[in-house]
Symmetry: D3
């Protein structure tokens, strides 16, 4: 649990608890006696709609931080699809600790299951539409994550069947439009990058036009991000690029909706990166009910 | 800036920067020389749709943390409505610092402007529909916030014209269904609460039925949260409650959509609390462009 | 133990240990061999005077942080009165850990028992002097606590039978003389507060004169703090206030000594707040002796 | 200011501010507009009784943390005696920041001035009673400090004219009764200590009887703490010890009251250590008033 | 300064200061008056042997943290070679701050200049021996850094003309002997890695034998680390690998001494990684003298 | 384990882990399935040369932090000499945790064993050469430690048979050449120090010339550090000093190499302090191999 699913998780979870509990749960302290607060109670997590489950290790850990003798039973595993109307799992803990953790557990599980569910939709659609025999096509998130929640949101993308793009500015080389805006030619910037970038990284460059993409391909980019291009342009461009350098890594981004996926899935590219997975996915409707 | 808009903000912003920058911006270091990195550049924040602006002090502060000589000019003030297609503001900073802060500034401003814009819609609708002469009706968020972002999200609600519910479990007395589920009668729990709760707080209790609400009113609740009741039930109940205790504070929550607001705005209550403001508001579409 | 008696206690206790132990206990390392340091020893906490016990969970926890197999047996429970000359409890631990924790345990238990004992005197005196049939009268501390020790001192007040005032500036609305000094009329400031203050809070205002108090009562204060008024003035004023608004919450503060309590206990008010409980209470004389 | 008066002070002061301000000053936000909150105001610190001033650098720093353009003017310097009824100093700051810092400034200045004033009484009495020509006699505190406040309390002792005993368990070698209780003879424990203790430290040992003291003197203690001995015993014992080893350092502790000082000041010893300086000194009565 | 030379540097430097200064510089406080401590003094950094300078921004920053009005003048720039017997730079600061920072400045500058000097020797030797027209050959460190000092040591390698290997386990894909020891074939592990590894990274694999290297080359490794192979084996193997896949990245490590460099520099590889740069480089002999 | 071998160790070790693991071990996650990652594996620590073992409690603790069910068996104890070619110990843990901790364990154990081995050489040489009947002669380190590693390096010195000099600037009084450079006479500075220094400390002063040393001896220094003097000067000076004050503590430093030890060991002094122990000791060659 120290390294997985997220390294050094406990301190972040304690910060989250601190945010919601502050100096203590005034209501519980005011209405229950000490012995009532220690009563063992159960609560169910109930799915109001179908979704892909994400966040169970965090829910367990949050409860365990407050009450080490708490427990959780799950009817669905992390990453599994749960149907509408079913009980997802049962939490058991001291009354005061379950009341204190309840809201945070829901806030986290609903948000992450929302992301996992949306990612799962993208991945399933791609898998269904990808012509057989083609290279694998990844769905990844971007750096459009909510501040403080990146590790959690990227984990939810993996749980939903997606894969991760670079973690942060230290986790990849990606030359973007704003680098080019203040810089030399594509060729110049690529040569500088090859000289300076640490060798464990591929050198990826964003291209906003087919010309930039062809130039990047010619001058040694390891990967090209084709940003915001219409499908016909993409289709033709990918063909040219592949015929020049068969093994170059190609990524497509910009307005990748579920509706466009069947078409995009036919492109001979490696990665579709989707900002919407993390910045605007709706909560999964799950509720928590105390059981008698 | 130490206490407003959010107390002790800088440390949180530094954590956010750390999350995105980690051990350093590899790309910028690889493609620009030290003197290029120190070039002063400008970038505009551009509105792709109309919205209510939120997050400008954070954008400035983030940039100032990295580059103390950076500056920002805003065409719209915090909380103002900006039209589609306009430039919201201009940031000026060293190249490397603007490249490093760009994504985080967008992630924060887009998320918070999303919340402020949604809140503004609620508040404007209520103001438009509230019959004149009635008591003021507040729109508040709930504790359904994203972990780690509560202070920011609650601030965005205020910027959008809303008001805040209790900050955390230490910031209010609210007896909920799950307290009642394991407890005595409404009367018993209210008497215990009055004996024990710190006197600076009102004692609020959630009622799921009119009977619970009437009992709470009779036995001294300072405030009642009427949860998930249909409008006709609410309308009748509020009348009964007001005739019993004119000054009791009444809050309504559960499925409060923009569509239902015109009707709800006619109720003689004090607060409408809306979870959707913070857990699922979509990003405001804003982009950042480097200027020549 | 995670949330009670004080949430997230362990990190604070570790800071306290760090303050006293620093880079290690040089004396113990210099005079005992490794095996001597691991010897299990016992020590008693001995009461040199009668008092109200407070701090036992912290003593146990401090010792447990250093030596998880340590134990404590208490002859008196938290909050109980112990007589002069008695053994309060027995601690058992590894020699080096007991030597390292000894001073901090005493510093904490003596300070908190001092506060609890003083609070208990106030509460007992009030209970003895309050005419039967009157509303309950609370003894509370104020914000005159020692920096860094607020949670501990407020806990000790509760353990001594008192109740807590607002925890911090974020935990209550209290309009004080210094707000009024730079502001509008009582009426104006109350109207502004009612419009802006979060609804979970009562609006309390300090009154230094009967006129201010009457004005506050008239314009909707939920609670009034009557500060530094002589008894005859208080007695008459409280009568007027109650006849205007029977349920308004009334608090009295300023120079509330044990000697004045019999008189003050006859007032028809709700709260007496006493700064001296936390800023100047003398240590409870308790000593720790190693047993053979 | 980074190293003096206390190293790395700002982070501790920020923790203190955080403790009192939490998520923000609700009252000030509720009753003042943004422009009112930024008004510059002044407040005086007023002495209700004579005392020795301590804490001015902390007051300034606290205010400066919140409002970098704040200022303070002092009529009395740190460590100076101020008379009853006088204005000690004037603080000037933004309204909201002065309201936020006011309570903490008072809590700290009153507590530390209380310690400095008590220490000053001890030191002045010793200076008045010490026969001329004798070696200097120091007044020091002990480790009986309040958790989290040690650096502040020890500083206040210095400001009051006292000197400091060891800072923590890592800041001195002091073999106490509890070490002897589980150990060998005085001789054995001293030989072990001389072999193992880091050479920058004197080896001091506590003696509860004249026999222990003489043995410690004979077997090489650098310093002896004579604990809880009546004056006649002390007087005779000190003579014996000095005739054996003229330069041995002698410390006396246990029940050192102001009343006993004239007698104790005639002893040919180096140090009087006084626990009461830090664990139970009463607050100095100082109040803060806003000026028109 | 916030992001370069090392992001978020100040907090680490403060930790370093705290380690050496603790509760304050007792000696300086004991022997100098407050006004003496504030005297402005100068000190020179003097080179006892030739070396490559590294650490000047840290020296400045450390001093500036303690004394914001301090200054530094450098006769040699960061990364420049300084000759034996010369003054490297002059520091100017308050007496007490220079005395407090002196040891830490030396510890850091001497250690980092030691690493930079050693790296510079490697890089110069490679540059001198590399036949013209060959691909660039990088000198990099490894993860054999001293705990807590990785960012500093890697920076010193860059300052000495080297380049960096992966920063940490999250900053690169490197399949090592211990992965292979518990795994499938080279082919199997490479296929799994290609399926799962984030696309911004090259997939590098360590080969201990030519057979492993050839298999890795065949099954799609992006980079191969040839570990601990004798020169003739390397020479032959590199030829085979290049003829199979011209653009594969090749790294050599294991016992890369200055003596072996002329021979190794003739290999058609991209990277030589040298653990000794960071784990065992000797201090650069530099001393600090106060000037009159 | 909370206080020994280093107090509050776990947080530092977690920082070290965080430095090397960052957001997670990408390679292990990419090449092993979840069940493979949980396989229990063993690895041996193997000595490539003879040395003195140091760091075993840290190795165990690091592994235990990641995998609480991990274990370690040691063929040699902490501080024991291990021969070349032998297995030092066997670690057993989950695969993913051993892979994650491996590098850090080696970095720490190799560095600390390097220091312990070097210290052991010094101590053994002194013990072999010290004429019988003379006072004990200590080998200590100095403050020339690597930033962030002081507690570890000082511990390694003790494990190697050495003793510790002052821990930091708060852990001893040592008047150095730079204090004298800006100060009064030796006599003046010593008198000031005696008046002001806390009594638990000896007052030590550095002397660069015999004259300074004699003056320090005359005016009451408790200890003198004889810095950088040739042996004949030292030999004569020590005789003079001892004949003046038999019990004064004498320390020698400056260029104390193994070669000079036989001569230096004949001096009638108490301490030899050796900077090289911590700033430049080479790694002990130890490797970690996974076992089948």
């Amino acid at each position: 649990m120290m390294l997985e699913p997220i390294p050094f998780l406990d301190e972040v979870l304690k910060e989250f608890l601190r945010e919601d509990i502050g100096g203590g749960d005034l209501t519980t302290l005011a209405v229950f006696s000490e012995s009532e607060r220690k009563t063992i109670v159960k609560a169910s997590l109930h799915a109001e709609k179908k979704g892909t489950l994400c966040g169970t290790p965090f829910a367990e850990r949050l409860l365990r931080i407050l009450d080490p003798s708490s427990s959780a039973k799950w009817n669905y595993g992390e990453g599994e699809v749960y149907p509408e109307g079913e009980t997802i799992g049962i939490l058991e803990s001291r009354l005061s600790d379950l009341l204190a953790a309840e809201r945070l557990i829901l806030n986290l599980v609903k948000h992450l299951s929302g992301i996992a569910s949306l990612t799962r939709s993208y991945v399933d659609r791609v898998n269904a539409c990808r012509p057989s025999g083609m290279r694998p096509l990844r769905i990844t998130e971007t750096r459009k994550t909510l501040p403080g929640l990146r590790a959690f949101q990227k984990y939810a993308v993996r749980v939903g069947g997606g894969q991760n793009h670079r973690y942060d500015l230290h986790g990849g080389i990606l030359i973007k439009d704003n680098h080019l805006a203040v810089s030399r030619s594509v060729r110049g910037i690529l040569e500088t990058a090859r000289r300076n970038a640490p060798h464990p990284f591929r050198i990826e460059i964003e291209a906003d036009t087919p010309e930039q993409a062809m130039e990047a391909c010619q001058f040694g980019a390891d990967a090209i991000l084709l940003d915001n291009m219409p499908f016909p342009v993409l289709a033709e461009l990918v063909g040219h690029l592949r015929s020049n350098r068969r093994e170059i890594l190609l990524e497509v981004s910009g307005g990748i909706t579920l509706e466009r996926l069947p078409q995009l899935a036919t492109l001979d590219v490696d990665v579709l990166s989707v900002g919407a997975l993390t910045h605007s996915s709706p909560d999964a409707p799950i509720r928590l009910d105390f059981l008698d």
